[in-house]
Amino acid sequence: MSVLGRIRRISGSLVVAEDMAGIKMYEVVEVGSEGLIGEVSRIEGDVAYIQVYESTSGLMPGDPVRGTGNPLAVELGPGLMSQIYDGVQRPLEGIRELSKSIFVKRGVKLPALPRDKKWHFVPNQQAKPGTKLSGGTVIGTVKETELIEHRIMVPPNVHGILKEIQSEGEYTVEDIIGEVESDGKKIPLRLYHTWPVRLPRPYLDKLEPTEPLITGLRIIDTLFPIAKGGTAAIPGGFGTGKTVTLHGLAQWSEAKVVIYIGCGERGNEMTEVLERFPEYKDPWTGRPLMDRTILIANTSNMPVAAREASIYVGVTMAEYYRDQGYDVLLVADSTSRWAEALREIAGRLEEMPAEEGYPSYLASRIAEFYERAGRVVALGDPRRVGSVTLGGAVSPPGGDFTEPVTSHTRRFVRVFWALDTALAYSRHYPAINWLLSYSAYADTVSEWWRKNVNEMWAEDRKKALNILYRENEVREIVRLVGTEGLSETDKLVLFTARLLKEGFLKQNAFDPIDAFSDPKRQYKMLRSILTVHEAISSIISQGTITMAEVEPVITDLVAQLMRGRYTIPHDKLEEFDALVEKILEKLKGLQHAR
């Protein structure tokens, strides 16, 4: 029996309903005659406080409110890939076709997965009638896109004896493809199942994140790497390039599946992804990026309550693909808007505010979200290892990193890519500040680099960082006394730091060559700069030749080395060696002249 009550009060996205005895916390309800979707966020006696995910304009006290008996859940099955959903998993493409309008009209109801589309299902050899199945076991596959072999799993909470399974063939998501008997009950299996978004999907075991998630962005992979199953925050004031960096991650990273949540951000940014990703090729597979991407869009002008939900909708989908054994990257732009949605909802519920009006449970909600990342062994057979890597943008008001969302997020993530306004003003992109950023995975992933790229990776990474750190100190000195009083070594530090910044850290996201660097190219570029640094260092340490004499001799070649990031393609890395070779020769010539 579903609960049926009526509206008592409407204030913005909050609807208060009475006669709601029996309603459950976080149950989904249908509000008003249009059946607008909402979620129960507080219960007092028979009065329920409801967050409505659509505009409440036109609702009246006395209008009906119907309980559905279920918590907010998402549909998980083939057909998710390449879709764009709103914050509560309604397909926006479908809404457009159905409503024949360029606007999102409210009250439109559509299932998340297309019901009429037939999928080619191939049952697993092992999945024979009579076998014992535990939750999560793969019973067959569907080719969802060219890139994704969708593994159809028994829902995590279902286990028992497989009674029946359909043979290979074409099925819609609603067709029953098998049956499990559990405690005498018969449970039908379909290509999809649903899962409540606020409940993390279970797994067998969590593993340590040791493998880097290569992103193709040099400052990230080389200086502040992220591991598969890791967590990262990317805070920055407006205009510092959060979105461009996140688009870069979504575009180039080595993940099998990418879920991009546009949470309270610009409509055009979602459009950009929608237009570009079908055209752009995944650098790892050569297929259109859209084949591995799911978008969730709650743009800044869409209802706020759905913004709060969008994060959970996205991460639940991510866990679902993780359970299939895939590496999933989820990027959320921006978690601050999600936190503000929490604040707005808490405000309407008249909860006692903590810092800056945010509710006191802000920190625990942020922690819960990031805790859903991880590299895990999935439930069921066969053994599968998958991961969810979480990257969240943070938009601190006024660029102030001490505000609540940034400071709490910092406690729960292990990588911090701090964007810097000063760098952005000089169009140094990505504007990740190397003094403020850090990665706790730098040590854990160094083994991978040692094995796959170069033995000296960890040492060279430290060298580069030390030069950058030292440069900062030297610049302090220059600010007081000018460049005159500097030692030759410090002058070299300034020289190399510029080379690192211009020739390595800066990366143009829109240049065909520069936008993406694989690990080998990254290391080659870094090593080239360090080789030049070391050669100059050994010359000036003899005390006879100064930086003022060195610089003019090699300035042309060094300019070429700096331009190398966009002039030397991946298949011509030896040109870096040739350039370095020329520079070394010039330096030798300088020594011989003495």
């Binding site: 204030s11 407006f238 546009g262 309270g264 610009r266 869009a297 604040r343 008001p397 169009r427």
Partner: protein
């Protein structure tokens, strides 16, 4: 939001109440039997016979909270009758509104005939479906080098001007409105102008400007002056953008929407919020200000299958020239960049005083390059940014350690910075530079620097454009 209220319990669309329980700030609390709906439009008749309008902000069984647009001055708990009109605030739209002047709620105030509406539209609008949007990529030449060269505007963008008291933002907005063209096209355009709480002389400036340029018949003005009720300010931009949407998406026009001054809008929003005793966010502004501002700024763009577009240019004054103040801060997070005016440049006599380092156009990359502007544009603007920011750094260093202690190259950077401001940024309010002129001036100033410093420019462009000697 556009859903019409369904009359389930109301035989006629109108419901009346004469019981005003409380009056507080811009709000009145009215006893009403069931049937009042959220966000409904209300007509309030005072005992004097004067009629005002408002909307329902909160409704519970028995009580409705109403925000009165024209203010509550003179309203009494007795003798006032409140009629619930059974619909949200709508604007009757028509192409004939171009060339006319309206008040902040969309009623004509120029003495002309009433508008015969072709269609009625809810002023709140609906969010554009992201799948219906088309990414903006048509270059708009504004004729202003600091914008075209460094922060290119494209059609369908929302690009605000962040200004301060006494800075020439109006002059700049007018110059942009006059000079803007998409090259090689001759399509229908229109300007929708919303004045929110501005001083009369500012309104007069724009009115005269549109008349003098002969663009009068292409402009619809919605005006709420500084001495008019503050609550109307919350509706004025919505009313103006409703017309803009109609012209763009139903009449295939390219609309430029100029909205000034958004700071006054935010102040009005704060006033309502504090009257409702809501928990404030930063500096007393409501926690939902981000979403609220977004519901205005996001009403810009291009859509798939429609010819028209809305390009938005809101103007806001930064209180105390502080860009981290909540109003510019939240705006910057929503809009696609910002043009920041700078008092230092203004005092040095530079017009337009655009601080290019703090300014940004997020949609620039798609609007420039071969076929749109020129092949070297991307590299040139990157180089100008890198070099100008270096020059500014060196300039502040030189004030401490003296210019003499700088290296010869660094001194060239100082000269470059000076020339960049004097000849690239600086231009006359009547000067309309083509993009080629802008880029040529850029190369003039870049050529002050040694060739080897131009590490952001591809060698083939240096070869072609760099001026040796």
């Amino acid at each position: 939001m556009s859903a019409h209220i369904k009359d389930k319990k109301r035989l006629s669309g109108v419901l009346e109440s004469k019981e005003v329980m409380m009056i507080k700030g811009p709000l009145i609390f009215v006893k009403a039997s069931s049937g009042v709906s959220y966000d409904e439009l209300v007509e309030i008749e005072l005992s004097s016979g004067e009629k005002r309008r408002g909307r329902v902000l909160d409704v519970s069984t028995g009580v409705a909270v109403i925000q009165v647009f024209e203010g509550t001055t003179g309203i009494s708990t007795t003798g006032t009758s409140v009629r619930f009109l059974g619909k949200t605030l709508e604007l009757g739209v028509s192409e004939d509104m171009l060339g006319r002047i309206f008040n902040g709620l969309g009623d004509p105030i120029d003495g002309g005939p009433a508008i015969v509406a072709e269609e009625k539209r809810d002023v709140n609008g609906d969010p554009l479906n992201p799948t219906s949007r088309a990414y903006p990529k048509d270059f708009i030449q504004t004729g202003v080098s600091a914008i075209d060269g460094m922060n290119t505007l494209v059609r369908g963008q929302k690009l605000p001007i962040f200004s301060g008291g006494g800075l020439p933002h109006n002059l700049l907005a007018a110059q942009i409105a006059r000079q803007s063209v998409v090259r090689g096209e001759n399509e229908q355009f229109a300007v929708v102008f919303a004045a929110i709480g501005v001083k009369y002389d500012e309104f007069l400036f724009f009115k005269k400007f549109f008349e003098e340029t002969g663009a009068r018949n292409k402009v619809a003005m919605f005006v709420n002056l500084a001495n008019e009720p503050a609550m109307i300010r919350l509706m004025t931009p919505r009313v103006a953008l409703t017309l803009a949407e109609y012209l763009a998406y139903e009449r295939d026009m390219h609309v430029l929407a100029i909205i000034t001054d958004m700071t006054n809008y935010a102040e009005a929003l704060r006033e309502v919020s504090s009257a409702r005793e809501e928990i404030p966010g930063r500096q007393g502004y409501p926690g939902y200000m981000y979403s609220d501002l977004a519901s205005i700024y996001e009403r810009a763009g291009r859509t798939v299958g429609k010819k028209g577009s809305i390009t938005q240019m809101p103007i806001l004054s930064m209180p105390n020239d502080d860009i981290t103040h909540p109003i510019p801060d939240l705006t910057g997070y929503i809009t696609e960049g910002q043009i920041v005016l700078d008092r230092g440049l203004y005092n040095r006599g530079i017009y337009p005083p655009i601080n290019v380092l703090m300014s940004l156009s997020r949609l620039m990359k798609e609007g420039i390059g071969p076929g749109k502007t020129r092949e070297d544009h991307d590299d040139v603007y990157n180089q100008l940014y890198a070099a100008y920011s270096r020059s500014q750094e060196l300039k502040s260093l030189a004030t401490i350690i003296g210019e003499e202690s700088l290296s010869p190259t660094d001194k060239k950077y100082l000269r470059f910075g000076e020339a960049f401001e004097r000849s690239f940024i600086n231009q006359l309010p009547t000067e309309n530079r083509s993009i080629e002129e802008t880029l040529d001036i850029a190369w003039n100033v870049l050529s002050i620097l040694p060739e080897t410093e131009l590490t952001n420019v591809r060698p083939q462009y240096i070869e072609k454009y760099y001026r040796k000697g």
